[in-house]
């Protein structure tokens, strides 16, 4: 499985992009602290070429993990290897210095050098090359990231999205053997985000290296992920394809992370094996929901998670819907968050959080006290063990 590559000396790197393949192996134990206390980071995984998302709430150990891989922090013990070459091995007492590792690292705060222009920033990592080649390569990369026109500006003179591009270009131009991205898109608006992701993907097609992409944003996981590693309290709690890890959460911590605004304790009241569903009662005597069938007995207790964005609101009792659950209720309050309206709806003692657009609120004339029907598709109900 391990692909052995012989790292070429930097001066001999080809000017044109040439596919190389490598694999990142990480086995790390490290004590770290966050505001909530002290944790043990204890992870073991392999990342192949392409995007691997490291997903977790803040304080889960994501940045500590990247720092250990980059060599900026020493693990307590373990092994870090890229393309079969050991960068850190506690048994062999091996620890390659960060500046010799050739691992690209873009931190959330970007850390552009304020006294250098965009072009000088990008050329910074090419210091072993001759000046002419350094210029060719950095201009090529500035062009690829569509920031060629900014090359003589300093970081303070360009926008946030442009700074992000400079930081990425600066890391990629050195042709790293692996790339670590610590929430590099966190501060960007959605269109900028997706165009940057496109640029990254394009680069990754010609440079087959592992990219570890840290985020706490569930949306980015679906947009990017080939493989997701879910971190919680320093441990890997789930790993796999985005839809496996995110859509069918098995642990409630994951459910909260991946955007289940509605989580209810529930009791199974009836099984409908013929149609592949079952009926669950929410809370003690709340409403009943038809949910997908899982291996459970009548009377067993579980949790139901529903995303606020998966719920529909109707101002009249809807007919002819495929959705199995239509629950009458009353709007308690509306809150605006950016461009989303979050409505809290009381359905016979069970409160649902429903996300709407501004336009939907206005055209339906929604407001507190209004009678509405909440529509819940069976397959929007995600079941978890207690």
């Amino acid at each position: 499985m391990e692909v052995k590559i012989i790292p070429a000396p930097q001066t001999a790197l080809p000017t044109s992009a040439q596919p190389i393949s490598s694999e990142l192996e990480v086995r790390i134990r490290k004590r770290f602290s966050n505001p909530e206390g002290s944790f043990n980071l204890n992870v073991h995984f392999r990342a192949l070429a392409g995007f691997t998302i490291i997903f977790g709430a803040s304080g889960a150990g994501k940045t500590t993990l990247l720092d250990c891989i980059a060599g900026l922090t020493d693990p307590d013990d373990g092994r870090v290897a890229v393309g079969g070459e050991d960068l850190y091995d506690s048994e062999k007492k091996q620890n390659v210095a960060a500046w010799k590792r050739r691992i690209g690292y873009v931190h959330q705060d970007l850390a552009l050098f304020p006294h250098l222009t965009a072009e000088e920033n990008v050329a910074y990592g090419l210091h072993t090359l001759r000046a002419a080649e350094r210029q060719t390569r950095s201009r090529e990369m500035l062009g690829l990231f569509r920031i060629g026109h900014l090359r003589d500006r300093r970081p303070a003179q360009i926008s946030g999205g442009e700074r992000q591009r400079v930081a990425l270009a600066r890391a990629l131009v050195t042709e790293p053997r692996a790339l670590l991205l610590d929430e590099p898109l966190a501060a960007l608006d959605r269109p900028t985000k997706s165009s940057l992701v496109g640029d990254l993907r394009r680069w990754n097609q010609s440079h087959r290296v592992p990219i570890l992409f840290v985020t706490h944003n569930g949306e980015e996981v679906f947009a990017l992920g080939d493989e997701v590693i879910m971190l919680d309290g320093g441990r890997i709690v789930a790993q796999g394809q985005p839809h496996e890890v995110m859509r069918v959460p098995r642990l409630e911590t994951i459910a909260r992370l991946s955007g289940f605004e509605n989580i209810f304790n529930a009791t199974v009241v009836a099984l409908h094996e013929d149609r592949g569903t079952m009926t669950c009662r929410l809370g003690k005597d709340g409403v009943e929901l038809e949910t997908p069938l899982v291996r459970a007995d009548v009377g067993s207790r579980l949790r139901v998670g529903v995303r606020a964005g998966d719920l529909l609101l109707a101002t009249e009792n809807p007919r002819g819907l495929s959705a199995r659950n239509v629950l009458p209720g009353t709007i308690l309050r509306l809150e605006q968050r950016d461009v989303i309206i979050s409505a809290t709806v009381d359905c016979g003692g069970t409160e649902f959080e429903v996300h709407l657009t501004l336009a939907a609120r206005d055209s339906l004339g929604l407001g507190p006290g209004k009678s509405v029907w909440v529509v819940v598709k069976t397959h929007s109900c995600h079941l978890m063990g207690m």
């Binding site: 900026l72 210095a97 960060a98 500046w99 850390a111 050098f113 910074y124 990592g125 072993t128 050195t174």
Partner: protein, 224 residues
């Protein structure tokens, strides 16, 4: 106006502040990045000349330079004369006397460089020494200028150390401040006033040059 004393003083100040750039940068580097647990002792020792009476410092330098100390004997065997009461001795005394005025601004500006820049530089394949040269030093320009100017101005006006180490030999160790003292002693107030005024103006010019150079040059402006 005693021009001989004036140029001697300027020569002393230029030599001392230039040497302090060379000596002060490694010391400040070590003070900034060392994790040695007893580092604070070195910090305190470097800062001593700020609080020590110049005569105390001058006295110990005189003893250390004299023919009874190893340093003094070594210098004597090398050159045939002692260090005490010479211009070279004055340079050594002034180096110690002005050391904190160079090292402290240097260390403060090195320490103020955002550590995330150092980490980024390492990830881009630069050794700590390369990072220091290409990131820390350029971003510490303000501190370097300040340290240079402060040690220059401080050496320009020293009195106690000079008197203890150098004495008062015209053309060799008689600096402006000693010259002013001499003139006041002989009730020559108008000449003392003239020299004092020159010293005052030079000090002001040096400091205002520092502050004008230290207006942050690579911030685009408040509008950003």
């Amino acid at each position: 106006m005693n021009w001989e004393a004036f140029w001697l003083t300027v020569r002393l100040a230029v030599i001392v502040s230039t040497l302090l750039i060379a000596i002060g940068i490694p010391i400040a580097y070590w003070l900034t990045y060392s994790r040695w647990r007893w580092k604070f002792l070195v910090e305190a020792a470097v800062a001593l000349p700020i609080v020590l009476p110049p005569t105390v410092l001058g006295f110990y330098v005189l003893v250390a330079l004299g023919s009874r100390s190893p340093l003094g004997r070594w210098w004597e065997s090398l050159t045939g004369h002692t260090l005490a009461f010479t211009f070279e001795g004055l340079v050594i005394g002034s180096l110690l006397y002005s050391l904190p005025f160079a090292v402290q601004p240097f260390a403060a500006s090195f320490g103020a460089v955002d550590s995330s820049l150092l980490r980024a530089s390492a990830s881009l394949g630069h050794s700590p020494a390369q990072t220091f040269r290409r990131i820390v030093l350029p971003l510490s320009k303000a501190g370097l200028v300040t340290g240079f100017a402060l040690s220059f101005a401080h050496t320009l006006g020293e009195f106690g150390v000079v008197l203890m180490v150098g004495g008062n030999i015209p053309g060799v160790t008689r600096t402006i401040s000693i010259d002013i003292y001499d003139q006041v002693e002989t009730a020559n107030y108008s000449s003392a006033n003239e020299t004092a005024l020159v010293l005052l103006i030079i000090s002001f010019v040096v400091l205002s040059t520092v502050y004008s150079l230290n207006r942050r040059p690579w911030v685009a402006g408040p509008w950003k």
